[in-house]
């Protein structure tokens, strides 16, 4: 066990049908093979940015929910900052860890500041109301995300990018040591993606442990110190971005030929084939999964209509 790991997950099994999943789900007649996580092992060092990368349905969100304590594992242990997860009270948990969910529909039309203030809940007793100091922390969290000017706007009047920023601000108002983000950039345009990833870098520099899930290898390449590549409930590889994000690994996990390009010191990852044709781009190394190009196919840039 690594003592520097702030999140330490070992032999984690989980299945949504309520069995412990340790038999791979085969005991359930209706959902054979439904164990979402199958003996997952993971250590996340404090202060790092870890991207959990994998195809849809590979168990990324389930893993986040297990770390958060929203789901309980069928088997296995989760230790947080050296203590077993179960030893934390709900409030302690809210101070240790914050979550930015994949999509958060806010039913009632709070003002942005009222919403961000809810991140102060773990610092308040069950009957307490936010104090002036909580307002200051919430306003500072909004400033940090660059959304300070939105403070008095109703949440219904925000754009998609602004919405994501205030959700991040609410999580930061919890002053967490660990920040979990579930697909934080998947609905955002390029400018907003950049804004969010830059904030994550700043947080990491300030000592916050950042764990994000994403299905997009480019997001992982852009921001992560460590990339955990997940495949059907297991860790396929966990390594620094440059060595985890290889065409071979990605092709195996996503099941399609993938091309990894290097430009300056950035990795650029894209599909090696186009849906319209099966023309191969030069340099693609998805080996076993490649389909041979038909003899008379047109070049990819001309094949689309």
């Amino acid at each position: 066990m690594n003592t520097r790991a702030i999140i330490d997950v070992s032999d984690l099994w989980f299945s949504y049908d309520g069995t412990d999943g340790a038999d791979g789900g085969t005991s359930d007649v209706r959902h054979p093979g439904q164990a979402v996580l199958q003996g997952l092992e993971l250590e996340i060092p404090a202060g790092s940015i870890t991207a959990i990368l994998g195809p849809n349905g590979s168990g990324k969100t389930t893993l986040l929910h297990l770390i958060l304590g929203l789901l309980s594992p069928g088997r296995g242990t989760i230790r947080l900052a050296g203590r077993p997860q179960a030893s934390y009270s709900r409030r302690e948990m809210g101070r240790l860890m914050a979550l930015v969910p994949q999509s958060e529909a806010i039913t009632f039309n709070f003002s942005v500041l009222e919403y961000v203030l809810m991140g102060r809940a773990p610092y308040l007793g069950p009957l307490e109301m936010p104090r002036p100091t909580d307002r200051q922390v919430a306003a500072a969290a909004l400033e940090m995300t660059g959304a300070g000017a939105l403070q008095d706007r109703p949440v219904s009047a925000l754009s998609g990018g602004e919405h994501q920023l205030i959700i991040l601000a609410r999580a930061l108002a919890q002053e967490p040591r660990i920040l979990l983000l579930d697909e934080p950039t998947s609905h955002l345009d390029l400018g907003n993606q950049e804004r969010i990833l830059r904030i994550l870098r700043r947080l990491s520099a300030a000592g916050v442990t950042v764990v994000l899930t994403t299905h997009d290898p480019n997001v992982a390449a852009a921001v992560a110190d460590t990339v955990v590549l997940m495949d059907r409930g297991k860790v396929f590889s966990a390594a620094p971005a440059a060595s985890a994000l290889t065409a071979h690994n990605l092709s195996a996990v996503y099941g399609v030929p993938v091309l990894v390009l290097q430009a300056q010191d950035r990795l650029i990852i894209c599909l090696a084939t186009f849906p319209q044709g099966t023309q191969q781009l030069p340099g693609a190394t998805g080996s076993a999964l490649q389909t041979p190009p038909p003899a008379n196919s047109m070049p990819p840039q001309l094949s689309g209509r």
Partner: protein, 333 residues
């Protein structure tokens, strides 16, 4: 505007003042000695008018205020806990369950008012639980629609149950009492009834008021509410229990009075914003004021009595139609 624990002071203060004025004016409204208005001079000189004001009007006024507060607070709590702006106690089988429980206890349990209230609270809780679990089992539509549909079905079941009990009731003694619950109203409320209301309704209201900021958290999606360190299941259960007890208390005295719990929270949110820190108290004050005015009309407008439930439904439903077709009401999910 000054902010504090109760939200924006001026609005809350104005509402509280209006309620106080409403309470005082209502003492002078009635049909003795002449229809509509009892002049203050009559209250000083006429012993009969004095007794009327203190022993009939005042308890009824207080009951109307408690009724309005309980239904509006419970409406706010149900809407936020279920993340559904289209529910109220009467839409989720809570009021009808309480009415059934009260009628049931009169017929079969034959106990005092405490037994009636307990039975009402039990069946009100049963109605709520029934609506919730039925909504989770319905396999089509979004959450808002499913909960409303399930609530309508459960409310109809309990209403039918009250209808059945009518046939079993002794027409001379029990029937009038049971019929009364299906209409909803405050006629014949005495100090004794207020005495039964207070120990049940006030604790329920206090719990809801004290936990009002937590309501904001519980109105967030499940995973967010959990991640900010709440214990969603425990806190929701506590708030719902407080709402059910308060509603059961007022229903066992006033019968089913609909629509207040639906529209008043919407009006309050319009006025002071969605934050329950200010919206819940505002909702209670507006609900009390609205119910008091409706009850004033119901007891003074005609020589007979217009049941309060009919008036609140008429005004509430009309207002609801306006509200839902206006801009600014947003239903997602």
């Amino acid at each position: 505007m000054a902010r504090c624990q109760w939200g924006r002071w001026p609005t809350q203060l104005i509402l509280a003042l209006l309620l106080l004025i409403g309470l005082l004016l209502s003492l002078f409204l009635g049909r003795y000695p002449a229809p509509y208005w009892t002049p203050p001079s009559a209250l000083w000189r006429d012993g009969m008018a004095q007794r009327l004001a203190l022993n009939l009007r005042l308890p009824r006024i207080l009951a109307a205020i408690l009724l309005g507060m309980a239904l509006s607070a419970a409406g706010s709590v149900l809407q936020m806990v279920f993340r559904n702006p289209l529910v109220e106690p009467g839409f989720l089988g809570v009021s009808q369950g309480a009415a059934f429980g009260a009628a049931f206890s009169i017929l079969f349990l034959k106990g005092g008012p405490l037994v009636v209230e307990c039975s009402a609270a039990f069946f009100a809780g049963l109605g709520l639980a029934g609506s919730y679990f039925l909504a989770r089992r319905i396999r089509f539509g979004g959450w808002i629609l499913r909960l409303v549909l399930a609530g309508i079905a459960v409310a109809a079941l309990f209403s039918a149950g009250v209808g059945m009990l009518k046939y079993l009731a002794d027409p001379a003694t029990q029937l009038p009492e049971i019929v009364f619950w299906t209409m909803g109203g405050l006629w014949g409320v005495t100090w004794k009834d207020v005495g039964y209301l207070l120990p049940v309704v006030v604790p329920g209201l206090v719990v809801m008021v004290l936990m009002r900021w937590r309501l904001n958290l519980l109105a967030l999606p499940e995973e967010t509410a959990f991640s900010v360190g709440t214990a969603p299941r425990r806190e929701r259960t506590l708030l719902l229990a407080a709402a059910v007890v308060a509603v059961a208390g007022v229903v066992s005295v006033a019968g089913v009075v609909g629509w207040i719990g639906l529209i008043v929270p919407h009006v309050a949110r319009r006025l002071v914003g969605a934050d329950a820190q200010s919206a819940l108290p505002a909702s209670m004050l507006i609900g009390a004021l609205f119910t008091l005015l409706c009850d004033d009309v119901s007891r003074t407008l005609t020589a007979g009595e217009i049941p309060l439930g009919i008036l609140t439904s008429l005004l509430g439903a009309a207002f609801f139609l306006i509200l839902m077709s206006s801009r600014g009401v947003r239903l997602t999910q």
